[in-house]
């Protein structure tokens, strides 16, 4: 009989290479029954390769995987599922136009006389959700659910196929605080049922919140496995990056200039309500709040990406009427969007083309592109921003998240933007690249630009900002000066009524 502490999954010396790169090198890891095991490491450390091997998307080159004490070969996602290993990807794999119940029982619908037994299926699905104490309309179309609810559907689906190991790839990255709490509660329930959870996250706080043990990966190699209560955050960070980080946020001397951006009573009649604030040159203005508090929407209104119903925007004291992003660009506003792949990058175009997308006029010679100039400009930014790439001809798709983000940044630096809005600038980016992004933000502010940073990471917004505006349900609910900064203060304002 296996006790709660017995190993369910054991990897020994697992290797995986791709042409020219060793993605995993002698990886070892044990996961115990009913534990929440964090897998940490910078981007490119090999986490996703490891996960894909466990879920059958990749096949290991060598090494052994033991599952429930037996050596197994995982050769396909179907087989991983049969063994009892489920993976919940960041991009959820649900059929959006099917109902919740259909998704849970996808491919194994209960049948009656060869036809789908809808009644039975809905009943079974309802019971599953009930056992986890989750309120869910199982006949609702998945498309109509929030991201958090969709995630719950995936988890229930994993449980319903008797998974013993559930892998979650950055499950909280798009959840609000309360949704995250719900997720943690579900994870606790999984634990109680002796289901092991492998939890991948960039948010170190969460590891300390809910994980029992953690395994650190670096450059495809196993660094160590520790019980969470044995390590401190700074130890963990140095395990991840292999160096002591003295400060996560580089210091900066703040020199405030004139007010450059003034927003008065901005509304979109929906998610942004009567928002007013101002920002100065040389200032990094942070926007905190829960996901869905209307911060991104506010920025999109300022940038002209969505139509506003009322409100006034002044730039350097002059009222401007920005109705589309084109006009925002003309007012020297840059917008590093939250979603770099969908909204920032042209993935199959080269880095140099991406960089020159906004300020293409700078590389024209008599209204024709000067490719030599384009290359020089791009190489300049590749050097200045430390973009790691074999050449500026590389297509953006092949870069890591951090480097992609730097390309988006370069796109907005080339046009000499005076006001740069960063929406979640370090989402899904590893610690080292984060630091570099922060340094760039500081340098921009030091050069007299106005910087707005929307961030859902508490540490980030506290660390990078000179002043913080907190939003809740579409309204500005508070403003904190540097000496008032604290997690407590921000959280209280963001949640409200504390």
């Amino acid at each position: 009989m296996q006790t709660e502490q017995s190993d369910i999954l054991k990897l020994t010396n697992v290797n995986k290479s791709f042409p020219g790169v060793k993605a995993l090198c002698n990886m070892c890891m044990t996961v115990k029954k009913g534990e929440v095991h964090a897998l940490v490491g910078e981007n490119g450390a090999g986490k996703s390769t490891l996960m894909k091997i466990l879920s059958g998307a990749y096949i290991k080159d060598s090494g052994t995987i033991e599952f429930c004490g037996h050596e197994v070969e995982i050769t396909s996602p179907k087989q991983a599922e049969r063994l009892g290993i489920s993976i919940i990807y960041q991009e959820l794999n649900l059929m959006k136009k099917l109902s919740v119940a259909e998704n849970v029982f996808l491919g194994r619908y209960p049948r009656k006389n060869g036809f789908i037994d809808w009644k039975q299926m809905n009943k079974d699905a309802k019971e599953l959700f009930d056992t986890f104490d989750i309120k869910m309309d199982v006949t609702a179309m998945v498309r109509s659910l929030s991201l958090a609810q969709q995630q719950l559907v995936e988890i229930i689906k994993a449980v319903s196929i008797n998974s013993q190991v559930v892998i979650m790839d950055e499950p909280t990255s798009s959840l609000t605080a309360s949704e995250t709490e719900t997720l943690f509660r579900i994870i606790q329930t999984l634990k109680d049922r002796h289901i092991a959870v492998i939890f991948i996250t960039h948010r170190l706080d969460e590891i300390f919140r809910i994980c029992d043990r953690l395994t650190v990966l670096r450059d495809g190699c196993f660094v160590g496995t520790k019980a969470v209560h044995e390590v401190t955050k700074s130890e963990l960070i140095s395990m991840m990056i292999g160096r002591e980080l003295t400060q996560q946020f580089p210091p900066r001397k703040v020199t405030l200039g004139e007010v450059s951006l003034e927003v008065c009573n901005l509304s979109d009649g929906y998610r942004v309500k009567d928002v007013s604030f101002s920002a100065r040159r040389g200032e990094v203005l942070g926007f905190a709040g829960l996901v869905g508090a209307g911060r991104t929407e506010t920025m999109r209104l300022i940038f002209g990406a969505d139509p506003k119903t009322s409100g006034v925007v002044r730039i350097n004291g002059t009222e401007v009427n920005i109705r589309n992003p084109r006009q925002a660009v003309r007012q020297k506003i840059g917008f590093v969007t939250e979603n770099r792949k969908e909204e920032g990058l042209f993935l199959s175009l080269p880095i140099k083309v991406n960089i020159a997308m906004v300020a293409y006029k700078k590389i024209l010679t008599r209204s024709f592109f000067n490719f030599k100039k384009e290359r020089q400009v791009a190489e300049q930014y590749v050097n200045d921003l430390h973009i790691v790439t074999p050449s500026v001809d590389q297509i953006a798709m092949l870069l890591s998240g951090g480097n992609q983000q730097k390309v988006v940044l370069a796109k907005w630096l080339l046009p000499d933007s005076e006001i740069v809005i960063f929406d979640e600038p370090t989402r899904g980016i590893d610690v080292g690249a984060k630091l570099e992004i922060y340094t760039i933000i500081n340098n921009l502010a030091a050069a007299g630009k106005t910087i707005i940073v929307v961030s859902s990471e508490m540490e980030e917004v506290l660390g990078i900002s000179d002043r913080i505006i907190v939003m809740r349900e579409g309204r500005v609910v508070g403003e904190l000066a540097k000496d008032q900064f604290s997690q407590q203060a921000v959280t209280e304002l963001a949640i409200g009524g504390v």
């Binding site: 042409p19 020219g20 925002a328 969908e342 990058l345 993935l347 199959s348 092949l398």
Partner: protein, 322 residues
């Protein structure tokens, strides 16, 4: 990530495929035809091929802009028939001089394109169905104007456009096509407009947030497409010595086939030319070999599928993480 040292066949083929694109198909076909048929490698035949593909290549050039911009246009064939018939009508029935007639037809072509663009961007109807609608509207207009009767009796000077030769060697339609392709290639590669087309096709959301006017760009590509189709239709009318209201039904799809066979996604208009040439060579080769013309359609279909398959393989190989 470092690039791998090993150079397997896949990478080699992808490498060659990347630099040559559809020209590889053209070269291969030309080689095969040179060996298997005696008549292929004669000046007359080569001239014949480049003359035959001219109209299709011109339509395909316009279609390339639309496809690169992430849309599709099924109305080009009928738009060119419309232009050819209109030109013929104006010159014969209205006695209009050639140049103004041509200019009016080209402008009408641009307007038809703008109309399609309007349907797609402002009314937000998917291009496939929107341009299909326009195709039938234009066809109806053509049939109404001509009463479905061919319009002949065109002047000699007009016939030069489709049937003439420069220095008795180079066909005039080929020269017109070459000018179109060269201008198209330059616009696409060297102008901000060309780049907005590519960026809008690649990611319209990101393009908009980068300050590109997506609506205007999309209307412009349809307008260019309409212009090219009209120009091709005028050349075609000249080549047929008449405005043929019943012709052009197949042209939209042939042009799109040239675009896809050419693999214009790589961002060069010369690929479209290669695509048109490849299709032209298939027809020519099968003719020379005396194969039943019904087989030609079959072969054409197979070539289209194979070419796109090869292109996908090439893209997969060249974008795989190395």
């Amino acid at each position: 990530m470092k690039a791998g040292k090993e150079n397997n066949w896949g990478h080699k083929i992808a490498g060659i495929g990347n630099s040559l694109g559809a020209w590889l198909i053209v070269i291969l076909m030309a080689l095969i035809l040179s060996v298997t048929t005696k008549a292929f490698l004669t000046p007359n035949n080569i001239i014949n091929v480049v003359r035959q593909i001219s109209v299709n290549a011109m339509v395909a050039l316009g279609a390339s802009f639309v496809v690169l911009g992430g849309e599709i246009d099924l109305s080009t064939g009928m738009a060119s028939t419309f232009a050819g018939c209109n030109a013929a009508l104006m010159m014969t029935k209205l006695g209009m001089p050639m140049i103004p007639a041509i200019i009016i037809c080209l402008v009408v072509g641009v307007l038809v394109g703008c109309f399609t663009g309007f349907i797609v961007t402002i009314l937000k109807i998917p291009a496939f169905i929107g341009s299909l609608g326009v195709q039938y509207m234009v066809q109806g207009a053509t049939l109404l104007l001509t009463n479905s009767m061919p319009i002949s009796g065109l002047s000699e000077e007009f016939l030069v456009l489709g049937r003439g030769y420069i220095a008795n060697v180079i066909p005039v339609p080929t020269v017109i096509m070459a000018v179109f392709i060269i201008i198209g290639a330059i616009v696409l590669k060297y102008t901000p407009f060309g780049r907005s087309v590519i960026s809008v096709g690649e990611n319209a959301t990101a393009a908009r947030l980068s300050g590109i006017d997506v609506t205007r760009t999309k209307i412009a590509i349809f307008a260019i497409c309409g212009f090219c189709a009209a120009a091709a239709g005028i050349v075609q009318a000249s080549r047929l010595s008449s405005g043929q209201p019943a012709s052009g039904g197949d042209l939209s799809l042939q042009a799109l086939a040239a675009v896809y066979v050419g693999g214009t996604f790589k961002g060069s208009m010369l690929n479209t030319l290669a695509g048109a040439l490849a299709l032209g060579l298939v027809n020519n080769g099968l003719n020379l070999m005396g194969i039943n013309p019904y087989w030609q359609k079959m072969a054409l279909g197979i070539i289209i599928v194979l070419a796109v398959l090869f292109d996908q393989y090439r893209i997969k190989k060249s974008t795989a993480r190395k």
